[in-house]
């Protein structure tokens, strides 16, 4: 958590730290893409390149013991909460050293020890879970908050609405953070949603406050999450944040994203979160050399992570049925 500052302000050192985190995530996502093309990653993957500021900005505003729930596009959230690029890439490559010991894969990155309680591939399913974690925090009186990150597509599924209502009536310390990247999968969210703002536009139905924020501006995200978290911790209930952002890649690895107008893509690339952070760094007087050094450090971390993940052994087939049950086993009969 960065030092408490007036909204919109950030120290040069803090911002450079946030920038470097985003650079590491960006580099890891690109590496994941390359590893796919090399055939070293099986299954699918939903890359978050372009959406790093949501994860990094939010994490900067949260306590280490807060809870985070993410979607199948969740690499950035795992890393923002402390998962290393090496253990993420190893998971994508089905290696024993992967975050989930090769049992989760790209869509289920989880770092429970850091409060990152899972990436869920059933759209919207984790919003009630975040409400439940917030409920638990309230009952236990810990002052923790629970954050659900979700895509714009999740705003049209029942679990979204059930979760918002429950969180509202129980005044739960929960944050519902929509990463609105404008497309549910291939279809524009505006074409399938009755209100212009798919998340924030639903807040009034549940009597909840909502904010629309620039999801590509890491400082703006940080400040909005800090406000919502403070509100939640003080017993005033949940907040909906709708972070407008854009993914650089298609929906999944098989999707080139050709349904997006070239001009739209070009416009959003100009507003890339790393680029916005560079502008802010320059405004704060941070020398370009320091930014370049951060880029180099990030590239080094990613290079090492790729090498480490590639070199890691695969899982032991003897572990295939481990951990179905809490006792580690899988037996269903006696």
């Amino acid at each position: 958590m960065t030092a408490a500052t007036e909204a919109g302000t950030v120290s040069p050192a803090d911002l450079l730290g946030l920038y470097e985190q985003m650079a590491v995530i960006r580099g890891t996502e690109k590496a994941a893409h390359d590893l796919f093309l090399q055939g070293l990653v099986k299954g699918t993957s939903h890359l978050a390149a372009g959406q790093e500021a949501v994860a990094v900005g939010a994490s900067a505003a949260l306590r280490p013991d807060d809870y985070v729930f993410a979607t199948y596009r969740g690499h950035h959230h795992a890393m923002a909460r402390g998962a290393s690029p090496a253990e993420c890439l190893a998971e994508l490559m089905s290696k024993a050293s992967g975050l989930c010991h090769a049992k989760g894969g790209s869509m289920h990155l989880t770092k429970a020890s850091a409060g990152m309680l899972g990436s869920y591939a059933i759209v919207g399913a984790h919003l009630p879970m975040a409400a439940g974690a917030a409920w638990s925090a309230m009952i236990r009186g810990t002052g923790q908050v629970a954050v659900a990150f979700f895509g714009d597509g999740a705003t049209n599924i029942g679990a979204f609405h059930e979760a918002l209502n429950l969180a509202a009536i129980w005044a739960l310390p929960a944050l519902f953070v929509c990463e609105n990247n404008l497309y549910m999968e291939y279809t524009p969210i505006s074409a399938v949603t009755a209100v212009p703002s798919p998340a924030a536009g639903r807040a009034a139905s549940y009597g909840l406050p909502a904010e629309i924020v620039d999801g590509n501006d890491v400082v703006e995200v940080r400040d909005a999450v800090a406000r919502a978290a403070a509100r939640a911790r003080s017993g005033h209930g949940p907040t909906i944040l709708e972070a407008r952002t854009y993914r650089h890649f298609g929906h999944s690895r098989t999707d080139p994203g050709t349904y997006r107008p070239a001009a739209e893509v070009e416009q959003w690339l100009l507003r890339d979160p790393l680029q916005l952070a560079r502008v802010r760094l320059a405004d704060l007087g941070v020398p370009e050399r320091q930014v370049a050094e951060a880029d180099e450090r990030a590239a080094g971390v990613v290079r090492e992570a790729v090498a480490e993940a590639k070199a890691a052994p695969g899982p032991d087939p003897a572990d295939a049925l481990r951990d179905v049950w809490a006792d580690g086993g899988s037996s269903w009969r006696t």
Partner: protein
């Protein structure tokens, strides 16, 4: 507390005991608070434990189970109620994809100590959408434990075990049993998950039951006793873990198995129990499943000495009605033999009714690519299965058209389009029977 309580009271009692024992236990569900539950199974809990422990929810089944799961991941032991088990369909994602998968797919990083209680089963006239017994839905999902008590004491004991379990448990309370009475559970009563109970000892037949079919089975056993048949009744109590050790031990003594299930026939826990007994019961209830299938070249190439290329089975005995006592025996003088056509005295290799020789063509005369007669060239019993039958089984199959216990007969192979109805099944069985007595294979 009273010596005898109802099943309904036992639910509240079981919950209350764990709520008193462990402050991390919380309950949530529709109308479970001041209202005491639509079945009054949470009566008194709100008064004793208050709103901090007993939470009324909106009619939001996904939110109920999702919130319970989130709480279970973060230090509580939530007990969620889904009012009717039919409503599992409204929140099935949590029971199928979320609760049972999360521990595994995170490589063991988390546990999900949640109990999902529900009123299950029929018999109260609530109609098609409020009467289903859906324990088989849960059985189809790896990663869920399943309890379904039949007595008030078991309700309390299994509730304690379920709430203390670090794995997700689906707890089926049977609607038809709520008013039933039984001895109260002693203090500290815990019934370990996955321990069946032999609720009536017997020696002639094993009846395996669950929840509301337990009293039904006990009533049947009582009636059988009056007819001189001694039935053993097993209450499974849980489907996962499934206590097959108790069932197998019983069947080893009785040699007969009856499963009594409040469910559609297909895909149920009874079939699972039967298949395990067939597989592991040392043949006491029959070990083979006979499939008649459209054959493939591979079926024939795999080959089985007994069936196709090697050993043939011959009927011992003479041609004219003197067939040496095969079970069907009475060929009415036709005396057809599969290997050699009609007539001719075949030498007996031993004193049994059948003997085997290498290189015979008993079946390949009629089955398979080399068959030259009969309409069944493209129909076979798979060689492995045929090889797995005993001589006696084969005699019964071939000469009497009788399928061993545990086997089945697919009538649509012989009567195309047969949907299993009685008439066409009888036609198919007659055709098969006649065929294997060689009256048609060599017939006019």
């Amino acid at each position: 507390m009273a010596d005898v309580i109802t099943y309904r009271e036992a639910v509240a009692e079981g919950l209350a005991r764990e709520l008193r024992r462990d402050p991390s236990v919380v309950c949530l569900g529709e109308d479970i608070g001041a209202a005491g539950g639509v079945f009054k199974t949470t009566a008194g809990l709100f008064d004793e434990f208050g709103r901090e422990r007993i939470w009324d929810t909106p009619i939001s089944e996904q939110a109920i189970l999702g919130a319970a799961m989130g709480a279970a991941l973060t230090g509580l032991r939530p007990v969620a109620e889904i009012m009717f088990s039919d409503f599992f369909a409204c929140c099935w994602d949590y029971l199928a994809n979320e609760m049972p998968k999360l521990r595994y797919m995170t490589g063991g990083q988390v546990t999900v100590p949640v109990v999902v209680r529900t009123a299950n089963g029929g018999g109260l006239g609530f109609g098609a959408q409020h009467s289903q017994a859906v324990e088989n839905w849960a059985l189809a999902v790896p990663g869920l434990k399943i309890a379904a008590p039949s007595t008030p004491a078991d309700v309390v004991g299994l509730m304690a075990a379920a709430i203390r379990s670090d794995d997700p448990v689906v707890f089926f309370e049977h609607k038809g049993l709520f008013a039933s009475k039984g001895p109260a559970a002693p203090p500290g009563h815990v019934v370990e998950l996955g321990r069946a109970a032999v609720v009536r000892a017997g020696s002639d037949v094993t009846i395996v039951a669950l929840a509301a079919t337990v009293p039904l089975a006990l009533s049947a056993a009582q009636r059988l006793a009056s007819e001189g048949i001694s039935a053993e009744v097993i209450d499974l109590r849980c489907l996962v873990p499934l206590d097959m050790a108790t069932v197998l031990a019983s069947v080893a003594r009785t040699s007969r198995l009856l499963v009594v299930e409040e469910n559609p026939y297909q895909g149920g826990w009874g079939a699972t129990v039967a298949s395990i007994v067939a597989d592991e019961g040392n043949g006491v209830c029959g070990t083979s499943v006979l499939h008649i299938t459209a054959n493939t070249e591979d079926d024939w190439n795999i080959g089985n000495g007994r069936y196709n290329n090697g050993v043939a089975i011959h009927l011992v005995g003479g041609p004219m009605g003197n067939d040496g006592g095969g079970p069907a025996g009475n060929d009415g003088g036709a005396g057809f033999r599969p290997d050699a056509g009609r007539g001719g005295q075949m030498p007996a290799a031993d004193a049994a009714s059948f003997y085997e020789t290498d290189g015979g063509t008993a079946c390949t005369n009629c089955h398979g690519p080399t068959a030259t007669m009969g309409p069944y060239r493209t129909v076979s019993h798979t060689p492995e299965q045929t090889g797995g039958f005993s001589d006696t089984d084969l005699q019964n199959i071939i000469w009497n058209g009788l399928v061993p216990d545990g086997g089945y007969f697919d009538p649509s192979v012989l009567v195309p389009g047969c949907d299993g109805g009685a008439t066409c099944t009888a036609q198919a069985r007659n055709a098969w029977h006649a065929f294997h007595r060689w009256t048609q294979c060599f017939g006019t």
